[in-house]
């Protein structure tokens, strides 16, 4: 069994942090969290995650600042980032991709969509309960990722 891949979830909304943590852990990911821009950098340096799920609207430095800081620091510059935000895709997607994020996912993100995006970055994840964890009902998906 391969070691679990670690994902840092950065979101100021505790419900969002909780929901993502539950979902990711259920899919055999190791999850750590941060609540604002400053702690996001600190947690990234501390845990050296395989991937960061980053919200844009954050206290103490928004998502763009975090992206900039991460890429300016050699130790964490390589960590891929997927932005998960409630902000308008139109207004932010391009800017996010320019800031070297891997993808822009707009909330609410379908579970299948989220996991697909993560796997696209981290590669296939062998999860025992992956069958069960897959989204049962995923109708109405209207957003696609652009990577």
């Amino acid at each position: 069994m391969l070691p679990q891949k670690k994902i840092l979830v950065v979101d100021d909304d505790p419900e969002m942090r909780l929901a993502l943590s539950v979902r990711l852990r259920a899919n055999n990911y190791d999850v750590c969290v941060a609540v604002d821009g400053v702690s996001a950098i600190a947690e990234a340096r501390k845990h050296m995650p395989n991937l960061i799920l980053l919200d844009l609207g954050l206290p103490a430095g928004d998502g763009f600042t975090v992206l900039e800081r991460l890429h300016s620091m050699e130790a964490v510059a390589h960590i891929p980032v997927i932005v998960v935000s409630g902000r308008n895709r139109l207004a932010n997607q391009e800017r996010v991709l320019l800031a070297q994020a891997k993808a822009f996912l707009q909330k609410p993100v379908k579970n299948s969509q989220l996991l697909a995006a993560i796997e696209k970055v981290l590669g296939p994840n062998t999860v025992p309960n992956s069958e069960r964890a897959a989204t049962i009902y995923d109708l109405g998906q209207r957003e696609t990722t652009t990577v």
Binding site: V22, A26, G86, R87, R132, I136, R142
Partner: protein
Amino acid sequence: MPTSPSASFKPWHALASAATGAAATCLLFGFIGAPHTNGLNLLCAVISVPAAAVLLFKLTRTPRSVSHAWVELTQPHPSGKAEALLDKTGRIAGVGGWEVDLITGEVIWSLHTFELHGAPLDFVPTLETGLSFYDEPSRPIIAAAVETACRTGRGWDLELSIIRFDKRRVWVRTVGGVEMKEGKAVGLVGTFQDVTARVAERVALSEANERLTLATDSGRIGIFEWDLVNNVLRCDRWMHRLHGIERTDNRADASANIQYDPLDWRQHLHSEDHERVISAMQDAIAGNTDYDTEFRILWPDGSIRNIRAAGQVTRDAHGKPLRMIGANWDVTEARRLTAELAQQNELLRVTLHSIGDGVITTDAQGNVVWLNSVAERMTGWTSEEALARPIASIFNIVNYVTRRPVENPIMTCIATGVAGKLAPDTILLSRDGARFGIDDSAAPIRGEQGELLGAVLVFHDVTEQRRLFYETTRMAKVELKLKDDFLSRVSHELRSPLTSIYSFTSIIADDLAGNTTSQQQEYLQIVLKNVDQLQSMIEDLLTVTQANEGKLSIDLKPIQLSECVTDALHTIQGPASSKQIALRSNCEKSLPLALADPTRILQILIILLDNAVKFTPEGGLIGVKASQTDGGFLLVQVSDTGRGIPPEKRARVFEHLYQVPGPEHSENAQSDTSRAGRNGLGLGLHIAHDLVVRQGGQIWITGELGNGSTFSFTLPIHRETPSFEPQADLAQTTELPALTTAQVS
């Protein structure tokens, strides 16, 4: 009647013997009765011998004189001296004598009588030949006169025409008397005088008079003559009529003038005109001007007539005025019409000045003729200043937006001859720089024959209306913006709680928070389905508001349609299978690439498929087909086996917030348990339409009612560019303007 011819030639002998009693008396009466003044003296001179004789004989009872005359005249053998004298004086006077002895038939002519007849001296006159000289109309007259004379002893005095020997016609005055003896005519004696010139003169005068009368009658012109020397005014018949006076005299010659004292005439004159007319007359007499004036005449019945008068003063060699001759005619009717016209003109002028619109008239060359007060105010030009100036120089109009000059409707109207209207958004720049929003129209002015006389421009100030309109439009835009902002914000804010609901519901449903029962599982799926619907609505709202704000982006790039179709079918698989609806796709192989935005194509396809699932009964079929059209487009068709849409509703289906009404659809919806029986916001097809159009395609609906619908849309085919470009550069982002002004309410 004596008929015997006489061959003897003894004129004065016979004349003398004939100058007796009744004959002479007749002769005398004849002369006295003649009204002619011309030549009377001469005649008297000519006939002085016999006339004097008779006169003395008849009126004076002086035997001595009588006998003396008698003796002299009745000398049977005159000395030839008297005869020569008579011939001589007769010739001077142009009078010829003649005598007929009715007993012997002898006829004697004086020399001048021969000359009057143009007869040679060897001509032997008889009574018959004498009569035969008269022309046809005159002959019965003279014959009757002779007959009467012989019967009654009364002579004649006639003007008749004779045909001379040389066939020339001459007018003669023929005077004849008869010599009676014991109640019986024994001789005739008389004179001839050539009056051709006088008759001609008289005829000419008469004709001239006739013509003048005709002219004055038909022109109703009165002629006056003011004798300045004797201060007498002579007026003709029409002068009287013009003054309302019926002539009371019974003179046969109605055209004859009546004389007045000029002071009498003045009493007919309107008192207000008195001074002016007298002054005009004095000016004319003084030689300053011709007499030409107008005045009012008071008629006896109290009415007033307008009279026009004109005249000229004639002068003697020293310049002294002799008389003024002129004419009067009635201009009352003309004045009345003029006054009426002026009144109408005034009415029109006041009306045009009173209306709220500006009015400018021009001639056929487009030069200003007149402006009303509103036009004066708006252009800054007075009517007097603007007169004859080109319309463009005073009516300066420009486009509101571009400030470029606008074609002047007057010139267009004159050039084309038809009424024209100004383009909207035109403003008038006045002379002082003021600006007026105006709306106007120009129409040609035509004469009776349809010829173009000019044009009239009517315009009104719409500055305030325009301001209100723009204000309202701006306000509406602001309101719409606020509404869009609000909707965008609401939609966005709804996402967070929705995300939370979705996340935790799916966590429970996935048994990540403990095992769930099958019933719990069923209910959780209902929650998730509603979450999904709610999310769809939010996304639709956001799409529409973005489109309205011009923020909807379309990234055109070469794409494989079949990939989009596969993705879309995959997405719709769940709900379709839950209704046992079969999905089929038929994409032509080697289909060319489309130039489109894959995200938007997927969006369109999902909207159409979602709609098809919604209205297709359980066990139905939905098909997606992609092909190439002859016109160089790709055609995508989504067909279902639903009830179909009535043709009249099809166009409306793509409208904002439109949902096909009708029992069949609501029934459908109610039976559609898998979609919870809700119709959503009605934005889906509107968005699909918008997205198709923005990518250069068209969308439409076909199908028969009750037999399913087919939604078709086209997309442009990607054309390979010769030079290789990186794919990123092929992608084209179009920033498009706002969709429509229709808004989400």
